[in-house]
Amino acid sequence: MMHGLRKWGMMTSVISEISALVGHVLSGGYTVQITVNVNGTAQTSDVEPRQLLVHYVRETLGLTGTNVGCDTSSCGACTLHVNGQSTKSCTMLAVQADGQSVTTIEGIAKGDELHPMQKAFMENHGLQCGYCTPGMVMAAIGILDENPKPTEDEVRVALEGNLCRCTGYHNIVKSILACANG
């Protein structure tokens, strides 16, 4: 019974999805205009209310440094900063960022000069495959903003929302501590 209900629920949601899409094509799509300060530049775009912030930065603005990992706010690959605070951009709508300031991994270096956290990750080999790295770096900057001289334990606890599938945590933690003490 539950299974049947769930299947029926999925079918009806697929049907409503298709009709919503058709409606959107016919109407040209329901969009809202937003202006977001992204990496220091005001960006004005028309977005669908359902567009996630991560898709807005990646697809609307072409800033593909922010990755999509689990898409369920567990892994932290999509971490960027909203008003200076680390945020999982797969669990925020672009419209929620209207009028706010967003910093992505592309916005932290000063020209050719890497951000100290990027430098620390490079010098301490704080990455393996690199997929989690943009989110790790953004989370790490947030950690030191809130606690400039953390202990190793504090770093590990504060990194609970960022997963490294290579399990390369040792050098990631080392990088963050090096940046804090650098």
Binding site: G9, M10, S13, S16, E17, A20, L21, G23, H24, Y30, V32, E48, P49, R50, Q51, L52, H55, D71, T72, S73, S74, G76, T79, V82, Q85, S86, T87, K88, T91, M92, L93, V95, Q96, A139, G142, I143, E146, V157, A158, E160, G161, N162
Partner: protein, 274 residues
């Protein structure tokens, strides 16, 4: 995963939000931090036709002392609850529990009111405020009314608010130096609790509530009654599941959850007893 399409309106006051939802009917949902609602929408477990964004109603973000209790605006973010000097002094159990919700990035966005209105039995703050004897203030077209936490959680992800009401404030009694403990047992750091316990104790007075031990957060009143009548911590902990109705899932069987609840209630009472 992209949520199904919806219309979007942003409210600048509680009154505006309530009038918008009254016009829209029960196909509309309030959006606060979005950290409970958006995951459900991405999984198509919720598909509201209208989201009313209440996240900018800044006058509902506060923590202030008010006589024998602390009043917390519904839109106060977890990170602010976690670090509030007023709560750290007067309701340290709640500040501590807020620091265990999700992870730092989640706590930057999620709000205490959103978590309580979502009424998830597996969330930390519904059970914690229940243990503390909180009162929730809700506002509707005809003004405000109070709902005791004990009357609020009516079923799985359901609460006692009417469709056109909005949670605006959480009132938590000051703990006045009571001992307290928050036990959260999970497999991975950022996860929901497999079983959690929020507890406080002052002499023979106590409050104990369970996370993820039924379809709602559970007030373990039999434990408090046992403590009241002078039972030892170990004996009182045996009453841990008297009000619970745990379900089995991938993480834990009913038997395991039952066992865990008794162990964690004992630990929580030991830590609260001073």
């Amino acid at each position: 995963m992209i949520p199904a399409a919806f219309d979007y309106k942003r409210a600048s006051s509680a009154e505006e939000a309530i009038s918008l939802i009254a016009q829209a009917g029960d196909e509309a949902k309030f959006l606060a931090g979005g950290h409970s609602l958006l995951p459900l929408m991405k999984l198509r477990l919720a598909a509201p036709s209208l989201l009313i964004d209440i996240g900018r109603i800044s006058d509902l973000s506060y923590v202030r002392e008010s006589g024998d209790h602390v009043a917390i605006g519904a839109l106060t973010r977890h990170t602010e609850v976690e670090n509030s000097p007023v709560l750290l002094q007067h309701v340290p159990l709640l500040a501590h529990a807020a620091g265990h919700v999700g992870d730092p990035a989640v706590r930057h966005r999620g709000t205490i009111g959103g978590s309580i209105a979502h009424a998830d039995a597996a969330s930390d703050l519904p059970a914690t405020t229940l243990a503390l004897g909180a009162t929730y203030v809700v506002q509707g077209p005809n003004g405000r009314r109070n709902i005791a936490a004990t009357d609020f959680y009516t079923g799985f992800l359901e609460n006692a608010m009417d469709a056109d009401e909005m949670l605006v404030e959480i009132q938590v009694p000051k703990m006045n130096g009571a001992g307290w403990s928050f036990q959260k047992f999970n497999r991975r750091a950022q996860d929901w609790a497999i079983v959690g316990v929020a507890a406080w104790r002052r002499g023979t007075d106590s409050g104990v509530a369970l996370v993820n031990m039924g379809s709602t957060p559970i007030l373990a009143s039999s434990v408090a009654s046992a403590i009241k009548s002078g039972a030892s911590v170990a004996d009182a902990a045996q009453q841990a599941v008297a009000e619970a109705d745990p379900q089995g899932d991938l993480n834990a069987s009913v038997e395991y959850r039952t066992h865990l609840a008794k162990v964690l209630v004992r630990r929580a009472l030991e830590e609260s007893t001073k």
